[in-house]
């Protein structure tokens, strides 16, 4: 009787219901795959009968672990060296992303820098582009005689030959990934900075604290959770990024875990790949633990009490034109310039020849010529481009709706249940998918859902499976956004509503959501964009009927049919921007979360 009452009381709180539901479904969708992944490191797969001598498919074996960890030079080249490279790349790119994104977020939200609306929108372009297209732009620009062919634009214009370390390998990989994920830092840190109550700063100003001190003692501690979240997100993302190191590293044989993972999953030794995936997850978990430890250390920062209305901009004074100019120059270099190269490259016929006579509309509206790219018709006449594009839009929209809603609710429930074990568990579960390297995650879902499980029919080849994996994978974006939004929101606001007898649904839709609208909406928009440009997650699960635009794009890039690739890339960017604009017009929110305005 007593327990029944306790249960009844427990479930009277909406956040408890949400927590329980999330716990059950996330355990099934993330923990089961994890066990299946670990199991995969111990069994012989069909393609391994070539290397595991005398074994039969599905035999249990320690072969993979021995080979990956304990085989001297071979293990070193296969695993340890790529692991070390991965850690370096992830660390460097996280630093670049946080520094660049954080600086821009601060400049846009807290200073009187000029051109804010423009910079604010353009800064996120690199995130909209699929990451490897930035790598292609880098190659277009900085390629040198090492790989031959037409000289890069930079060399063509300045006559300076770029150094090999600058053109290929760890440096460009880190920079490109850093630039690609800088908008993350910008959105997450900017969101907090913008909503931060300026009273704190003003109080410090009144107390005659120096600007440096205010940043160090007030701004930084408040945005620290966001910086840590960003670090965690960027580090994990770059760790599982495959295409950028593949394009920039191959010429100098720079190996990271994912390039090995990709080769092994599609090659002779998927077992090795599964081990590498496990290692990546463990690294992610370690960072997550540090993050948790830090967040647990400080109890809470309620920094938003209602909507902060008085934001005081720091006057840049004499530095204003300099800083504004520099900021403008940087966004132009990292966001506009690549776009321009995509436009130009999609119109040229013979590679490397930028003369007017070499321009052609062949790759946009041409019927297809046998002597270039095997008779593939131009993008705008290409049936498969349209189908794939539509699939991508559909998929991204559905995923965004699911993720944004579930994530927002998760954020609410996690924060309201704070301090309870269940809340902590769900918090970690909701974040966990982010630590699963996309490609391995796809591989696991493939083997999990290729056969019927209980009452679940086989999902392979269905649109639903793509939605499912996308939703699970991107839940962390939305749950983080939701948590960050809710953490800043004083509980008193909802308590006041409860006292007034306002039902839960209304409290959410009329009070909480509107106050932190921009944060919650970023929980819808981030998954949408990420989904539009995602490749690795879907590549194994795609069937001809539901192929998405990025698979097509990557295929063109891989084949070296760069004109089509560049054109499609432009289409993706234009589509995302238009949708962003539309949402902006309808709701006032935007990807850059209207940081500028």
């Amino acid at each position: 009787m007593k327990t029944a009452n306790r249960l009844k009381y427990f479930f009277r709180k909406p956040h408890n219901i949400i927590l329980v539901l999330l716990f059950v479904s996330l355990a099934f969708l993330t923990l089961v795959p994890l066990f299946s992944l670990i199991r995969d490191t111990f069994i012989v797969h069909p393609s391994e009968i070539m290397s595991v001598r005398g074994a039969k498919i599905n035999d249990v074996t320690l072969f993979h672990w021995k080979k990956v960890l304990l085989d001297g030079t071979k293990s070193f080249k296969l695993f340890y060296e790529p692991l070390w490279n991965t850690l370096k790349v992830s660390l460097f790119s996280s630093i670049i992303a946080i520094f660049l994104g954080g600086s821009f977020a601060w400049l846009v939200t807290r200073t009187d820098m000029a051109f804010k609306p423009f910079i604010s929108v353009v800064f996120i372009f690199p995130y909209i582009m699929p990451s490897w297209t930035l790598a292609m732009a880098w190659l277009n620009f900085f390629r040198n005689k090492l790989i031959g062919g037409a000289p890069g634009l930079f060399t063509a214009l300045t006559g300076i030959e770029t150094a090999n370390w600058f053109a290929y390998g760890i440096f460009p990989t880190s920079v490109v990934l850093g630039l690609h994920y800088a908008p993350f830092a910008y959105i997450l840190i900017g969101g907090i900075l913008r909503n931060m109550d300026a009273n704190l700063e003003e109080a410090a100003l009144i107390l005659k604290a120096s600007r440096a001190k205010i940043i160090a003692r007030i701004n930084l501690p408040i945005i620290m959770p966001a910086i840590l979240s960003t670090f965690l997100l960027v580090f994990s993302s770059t760790m599982s990024a495959f295409a950028v190191p593949a394009f920039l590293g191959t010429p100098v044989r720079f190996q990271v875990l994912t390039t090995q993972l990709y080769r092994t999953l599609n090659g002779l030794n998927p077992g090795y790949g599964y081990i590498m995936a496990v290692v990546m997850i463990v690294i992610g978990l370690l960072i997550l633990a540090v993050n948790q430890w830090y967040l647990g250390k400080r109890k809470s920062f309620v920094t938003v009490t209602g909507k902060s209305s008085n934001i005081s901009f720091i006057k840049l004074k004499k530095m204003r034109p300099v800083i504004s100019g520099a900021a403008l120059f940087i966004v132009a270099a990292i966001a506009i310039l690549p776009l321009l190269t995509f436009v130009v490259e999609s119109f040229i016929l013979a590679p490397g020849n930028y003369s007017f006579s070499n321009l052609t509309t062949q790759f946009w509206v041409g019927l297809g010529r046998e002597d270039i790219g095997g008779g593939e018709p131009g993008i705008l006449l290409n049936k498969s481009v349209y189908i794939a594009f539509w699939n991508s839009l559909k998929l991204s929209a559905v995923v965004a709706l699911v993720v944004g809603t579930v994530g927002g609710l998760a954020g609410y429930a996690i924060v309201r249940g704070r301090g309870k074990k269940l809340s902590a568990i769900v918090n970690n579960l909701a974040f966990f998918p982010y630590l699963l390297p996309s490609m391995a995650f796809g591989a696991i879902y493939l083997s999990m859902f290729a056969k019927p499980i209980g009452f679940f029919p086989s999902l392979y080849g269905t649109f639903f499976l793509l939605v499912l994996i996308g939703s699970v994978k991107y839940l962390p974006f939305a749950s983080r956004a939701g948590i960050n939004a809710m953490l800043q929101l004083s509980g008193e606001i909802e308590e006041a509503a409860i006292i007034m007898g306002i039902p839960w649904r209304k409290r959410i839709t009329r009070i909480l959501f509107p106050i932190q609208k921009s944060s919650f909406l970023s929980g819808y928009l981030l998954p949408f964009i990420s989904c539009m440009r995602e490749l690795a997650l879907f590549v194994l699960l795609i069937t001809p009927a539901n192929r998405v635009i990025t698979t097509l794009l990557f295929q063109y890039n891989e084949k070296g049919w760069n004109q089509w690739a560049n054109g499609i890339n432009l289409l993706i960017i234009i589509a995302v921007l238009s949708i962003n604009l539309l949402i902006n017009k309808l709701t006032g929110a935007s990807i850059d979360k209207g940081i500028g305005s």
Binding site: I49, I147, R253, A350, D371
Partner: protein
């Protein structure tokens, strides 16, 4: 005179009979049309053009999906293994894996159209070969039309450091197969002999055999690995480059010469090999849903009409010897003694070792 005429007449009769034979049976066409659709996974992108032509001819819808060799093998393994309907038939490559992982397991099923049983040489019938593809040493021919190397060991000399390109064998199984074949007794003996012919002394080994030795020195001589043969063909072929470069890539890429302003020529007489040649197989899947449409399409692809997207360029050789090759190209019989071929059994046994070896070679 009369005899000659008789012979010509007989030949004509024979040809027309073959042609009658060559047509698929009406039964098959009807059954295929009833299915109305066929799904194919293919390692060659030109399948799209063949698909279009096939759709127009028979009104049967084709879903053609272009995949990389390893991807295709993985997909078929999962789909057929899990009894999920995917491709009805495939055009696949990478002999070692295709035999070991797909044919030995019964995932792929051989089908030779009746009309072609007497046309296609018996050794290409099981598994049925669709075409042969060759990757050869190709050089930038802007400054000179004469081949720039005569012996593959030259590529291990400082002179060629950083000037040779090859697609990363991790990214394409057939490239790994080629390297694996070099370590076979046959090719390592030939490589050892080529070394002696060139330098007049015996090769001193630091590895298992001359094959491994060449691979090691080839890779460690600043070999540039690429992501795609198309890109490599541009990197090598673009006019106006200072350095003389060369690459080992798909011969058919030279078809882009005119449109892309490239200067590329093959070197068919390098000792002991000028590159390699590998088969692409035409196989039905065990759980094919549209069996008849698949059969009809397979038959179509082996006719002159169906092979048209490939035959109009160099570097594609149908298993059907009656299909003419590009006039600028030479037949398989010309290439055979010059190129390294795949031996599925040897590959199955040794590919993993060679891959592992290659992975330990740094610049």
């Amino acid at each position: 005179m009369k005899k000659g005429r008789m012979l010509a007449l007989a030949l004509l009769l024979f040809v027309s009979m073959v042609q009658v034979f060559a047509a698929p049976s009406q039964e098959l066409i009807d059954a295929a049309k009833k299915e109305g659709k066929v799904v194919v996974y293919s390692i060659t992108s030109r399948i799209a053009n063949a698909a279009k032509a096939f759709e127009t001819k028979y009104g049967i819808k084709v879903e053609a999906y272009n995949l990389k060799d390893g991807e295709l093998i993985e997909k078929v393994t999962r789909e057929v293994g899990g009894n999920i309907s995917g491709a009805d038939f495939v055009i696949c490559q990478d002999s070692g894996r295709v035999y070991g992982q797909l044919i030995a397991t019964g995932y792929l099923v051989n089908f030779v159209p009746d009309s072609l049983k007497n046309v296609i040489p018996a050794q290409y019938q099981n598994p049925l070969v669709f075409q042969f593809i060759n990757k050869v040493f190709i050089f930038n021919s802007e400054k000179t039309q004469t081949p720039v190397i005569k012996n593959v060991w030259e590529l291990t000399e400082p002179k060629w450091k950083g000037l040779v390109q090859f697609k990363d064998p991790k990214l394409e199984g057939v490239n790994a197969n080629f390297l694996t074949m070099l370590t076979s007794p046959e090719w390592s003996a030939k490589l050892a002999k080529a070394y002696e012919d060139l330098y007049g002394k015996k090769l001193v080994l630091t590895t298992k055999n001359a094959g491994y030795e060449w691979i090691k020195r080839f890779f460690q001589n600043g070999l540039i690995l690429g992501n795609s043969d198309t890109t490599i063909s541009e990197n090598i072929g673009i006019k106006g480059q200072k350095a003389q470069t060369l690459g080992l890539f798909v011969y058919s890429k030279t078809r882009y010469d005119a449109a892309k302003n490239l200067a590329l020529l093959p070197m068919p007489d390098v000792q002991p090999f000028s590159g390699f040649m590998y088969p692409a197989f035409l196989q039905m899947t065990k759980n094919a849903k549209n069996k008849n449409a698949a059969k009809l399409f397979i038959e179509y692809l082996l006719t002159e009409e169906g092979f048209a997207p490939w035959s109009k360029d160099v570097g594609s050789y149908s298993s059907n010897p009656t299909i003419k090759i590009d006039p600028d190209d030479k037949p398989v019989s010309y290439w055979a003694p010059r190129l390294v071929f795949e031996d599925p059994a040897f590959l199955f046994e040794n590919r993993a070792d060679v891959e592992e070896f290659v992975n330990t070679l740094s610049n």
